[in-house]
Amino acid sequence: MSHKLTDGGHVMHVGTLARVEGEGAMHIEYRDGVVTDVQLRIYEPPRFYEAFLRGRAHTEPPDITARICGICPVAYQMSACWAIEDACGTEVSEEIRLMRRLLYCGEWIESHALHIFLLHAPDFLGYDGAIEMAADYPEVVERGLRMKKAGNDLMDTVGGRSIHPVNVRVGGFYRMPTREELRSVRPKLERARDEAVETVRLVAGFEFPDMEQPYEYLALRADQGYPIESGSVVTSSGGAFAVQDFGKHIEEFHVAHSNALHARLDGAPDPYVVGPLARYSLNSDRLSPVSQDAAREAGLGPTCRNPFRSIVVRAVELVEAYTEALRIIDGWTGSASPSVAVPPRAGEGFGASEAPRGVLFHRYVLDGSGIIRDAQIVPPTSQNQRSVEADLRTMVESWSDLDDHALLHRCEQAIRNYDPCISCATHFLDLTVDRS
């Protein structure tokens, strides 16, 4: 909806955002080409996860927090495991890290394939949604479903289920897949990798509005490879800190119009961004050769700051996820122990991993018997709310010459650039009692 105010101002309002996970709205007011108010309104009710983790055993967060999201449960499981293991002073084996990475590849594949083909591509090809797009581009949608299915099969094989895997535990896995089981998913992954390269070419041919984000980018960077299941934090201004220090740098705060906490980095007034653009811009040198070739062919440089081109970066990350999955499967000996013991101890632990839509931080405080005394979860969509709003402000002021309908559509598209997961963002409990 878009309408004029009696004082000459304009209001653009979308009451229910489409093609995003969860329930949110967009509200923008502007007059004389200047935005006076912009709000990404997340009205989905808060879900109290951090509160009901208190009092639970240290073995429970991977299963409990996975339920925050049906799209990125592995991200919750992995960040939770790292944090609990950190609190207990336990380190897992390289094989367990690799199996976590492999499972995570399955999640990236499911999530990115869904977003690229069914949620985001219709914006660029001029359709209301995937169903309308499928009438004219059936082979593209079929390809997307095939590519997603390869991720489902990988999740099934490693995690025991394609949604909310049941094979993950603190310390590793209940059971490692055998070499034969892993090799059975190989043909689909190999075909999907080739189709992902084709997908990069396809989406690189879309038309992208000119826009550059000036914000700070924040992502993980690992000792080797593209950051997926682990790493330490780096920023585009040269900042670097250990995951254990995230609380010293990232501050969450509440705003009235959102049921998801906003976040700021090092007290800066400007927003920061997590997700594919940040990950790519801070780690493009770490992509495998096939992914780097695909990125180069798509016209991506070592960094990418146009949020509309995030669909190209996601496609490159799909190439990387299939390539990594194949690499891990091919090197798997099948002899590794599925888990290490994680005896509880009193302490605080931190964990982070790269969820499909950006860094997901977990922090837990345990008592001596492993009971959780405090929990904090900082999901990517929460962190990106301020940059979504900043993008909307920039766009409305830059493109005020567009007609109302076109501008409104572009604003909705700008939100979908982030692949926001509102269900993740509203996991928290922040009860403020105003006694004035």
Partner: protein, 174 residues
Amino acid sequence: MKAQSALVVGLGSPERGDDAVGTAVARAVAALALPGVEVVEHEDPTGLVELWSGRDPVVVVDAVWSGAAPGTLHVLVTGALHPPLAEPAWARTGRGGTHAFGLAAAIELARVLRRLPRSVVLVGVQAEAFEHGTPLTPDVAAAVPAAVEAVVEAIHHDSVSAPGIERGDAHVSG
């Protein structure tokens, strides 16, 4: 053989209270070992497009939220030979954790891709609660035998079903 057989899909999450009713009914149907009928449990609606390709008839069992009494059955018929169901009938089925891509979207996407079976019967069971880690509520658990019967009937009487018509509600008392 597989391409011609009937398919029963129990949709839903097995650890979310009444959302597990699709799974519970599917398991009960599987126990009947009906000849020519394959039964699967499934969570992700985007996978249905491939799963049911070339199958006929297809019956999907899922928890629904219609405002009716818990345990009430809703049997809806759609498919390639039937017009799309009215939007309010089920636009929100399968939502939650599937990124705004639910069963209704899977049906309509399959229709466009010419992968929709001639007949897809949705057997919906009105749910009461979706709490984490809880069992079926008593009214919903009591509706499982009637839902199983509805599935079996849908398979056997598929050819006489009226397009796009809700067959009626059968309230099952707790």
